[in-house]
Symmetry: C2
Subunit: 308 residues, 2 copies
């Protein structure tokens, strides 16, 4: 079982980053700040608020500096930004960010299609990012290992390959947090638990996280399975915002509210107020062009209780 405190979990909110970037229509800076503030008010302690990427690549993230600046006194070090390279890391740190997220795929094909680099080139970028971090003490890094279970192009990803890419990244940034990401949503709870359990048994000192999707209906089950293996950091996207690139209308990211429900009822403290979270969920669901999912938002509010 767990090496970590078994009565608490950190849910990492990704709607402002992974969610909003899936919306083609521009969302105003004010709306982004309001959403982030609403999520903080709901008790979210960790959140990915956006990406310092090229505005050409992701136009939705063009106002990243303004979002960070606009949060003003609401800023906390639990707010993280995705950075694609060392240049992005420099800009993010300059803007005041203290938590960075770097994504590389376990699958070579997916990495090439997603970030237009080989895995080896992504590891080179990670080295350059580590150099930036070395110049500014106190920067936290999370490495997202995308397609850690399944690749949309190559199918099932062998466990040996996951270990190989993980060890390669860890040798560069040994104190980072590492997330196994079920990018396609095709992972099942048996696999999620077994993979994490094996990695945690091999070295219980690594800080692991799980990023799941609900496209195939496995979202909550996979999160439960990851928790069961000892993972204490799990991603969610309020309203399930994020969609699924290959399945229009299908749900994408696992909804934070569904995760809060499962864990809070299980007696696991998330720090999140469901009523406030569902209010933000309604606001997100009202954004034009957003693909949403999740279950809790669709049941009558008077039926939702976290006490059993």
């Amino acid at each position: 079982m767990a090496t970590a405190d078994i009565r608490r979990i950190d849910l990492v909110e990704v709607a402002p980053r992974d969610g909003l970037q899936s919306i083609a229509e521009p969302v105003s800076t004010e709306e982004k700040i309001a959403l982030i503030a609403g999520l903080l008010d709901a008790g979210v302690r960790r959140m990915e608020i956006g990406s310092f990427v090229s505005p050409k690549a992701v136009p939705q993230m063009a106002d990243m500096r303004e979002v960070v600046a606009g949060l003003g006194e609401r800023w906390t070090d639990g707010l993280a930004v995705l950075i694609p390279n060392a240049k992005g890391a420099e800009i993010a740190v300059e803007a005041g960010c203290r938590a960075l997220v770097f994504v590389l795929s376990v699958s070579e094909t997916h990495n090439l299609r997603n970030v237009r680099r080989t895995v080896g080139e992504s590891l080179d970028q990670l080295r350059a990012i580590a150099a930036v971090m070395a110049r500014t003490p106190g920067i936290a890094l999370r490495v997202d290992l995308a397609t850690a279970f399944d690749c949309p192009f190559d199918g099932s990803v062998p466990e040996a390959r996951v270990r190989e890419v993980f060890e390669a990244t860890r040798s560069i940034v040994p104190r980072a947090e590492f997330a196994l990401c079920d990018t396609t949503g095709r992972a099942d709870p048996f696999r999620v638990r077994a993979l994490f359990a094996g990695l945690i048994a091999a070295d219980p000192t690594v800080r692991w996280a799980f990023h799941g999707h609900d496209t195939f209906g496995m979202g909550v089950a996979n999160a439960f399975a990851a928790y069961d293996a000892g993972v204490r950091v799990i991603d969610g996207s309020t309203a399930g915002l994020g969609g699924c690139p290959f399945a229009p209308g299908a749900s994408g990211n696992t909804a934070t509210e569904d995760l809060v429900y499962a864990f809070a009822r299980g007696g696991i403290e998330t720090g999140i107020d469901m009523t406030r979270l569902l209010a933000v969920s309604d606001r997100i669901a009202a954004l034009p062009g957003g693909r949403t999912g999740g279950h809790l938002r669709t049941v009558p509010r008077d039926r939702v209780t976290l006490v059993r």
Copy 2:
């Protein structure tokens, strides 16, 4: 862990009973038979095909005899019918049924509202059913313990009450299969696993089943948790047919295809062919007036693979 074979699970299909009874518009006898035959062709080994109840109470089930007769050579003893009382048991046995299902609620309030009897009166009926069974050898009985986790009227149901009602029923029909039913869908995987684990530890010889709903997004997670505790019989409804009485539009029964996906990928044999099952799921989803749910039906078919 499990006392049962850990590589196989029986998924009990309930769409023709629990699902169809939620549809107000009449479904033809031919369509019912075609759905049941399609599910058998997909590899379903156990199924609730309907109820021998008063046509006044459930008009959709008025042609129950015709459905049973119409199955002809397709008939197997894995096909079960719900019976509300001893009279229903007699009619079902006469019609050729060899597997009966009796429902009573753990919650007194829910039992009164659902079947208009006290729990004590339901136990009296169960005694009368046992007497009918004693006259015809080879009849299998399953007892559904509804509201075993949560009651729509009274909220959380204490574990001691579950044990009490279970023991009372078991003393009457010791060789029955017993199902804990998450009638509202509000149970969480931590509770499901803990409750079953406690009961199985107390007596590993009892044959347990789990009936769950996906209204709150917990369907697959709860089934996984039940399996984890040692349960090897789990209900599903193809296309998630069944809806939710208090939440129009919200999903109800956990979709069989979502369960097949989770277990088959986990290496647990279900005997069900996903392609054929999804074809039946499409047919069910096309029924007028049906409330459907589930995830697998909504993703592109070429993305669905049970091999990982």
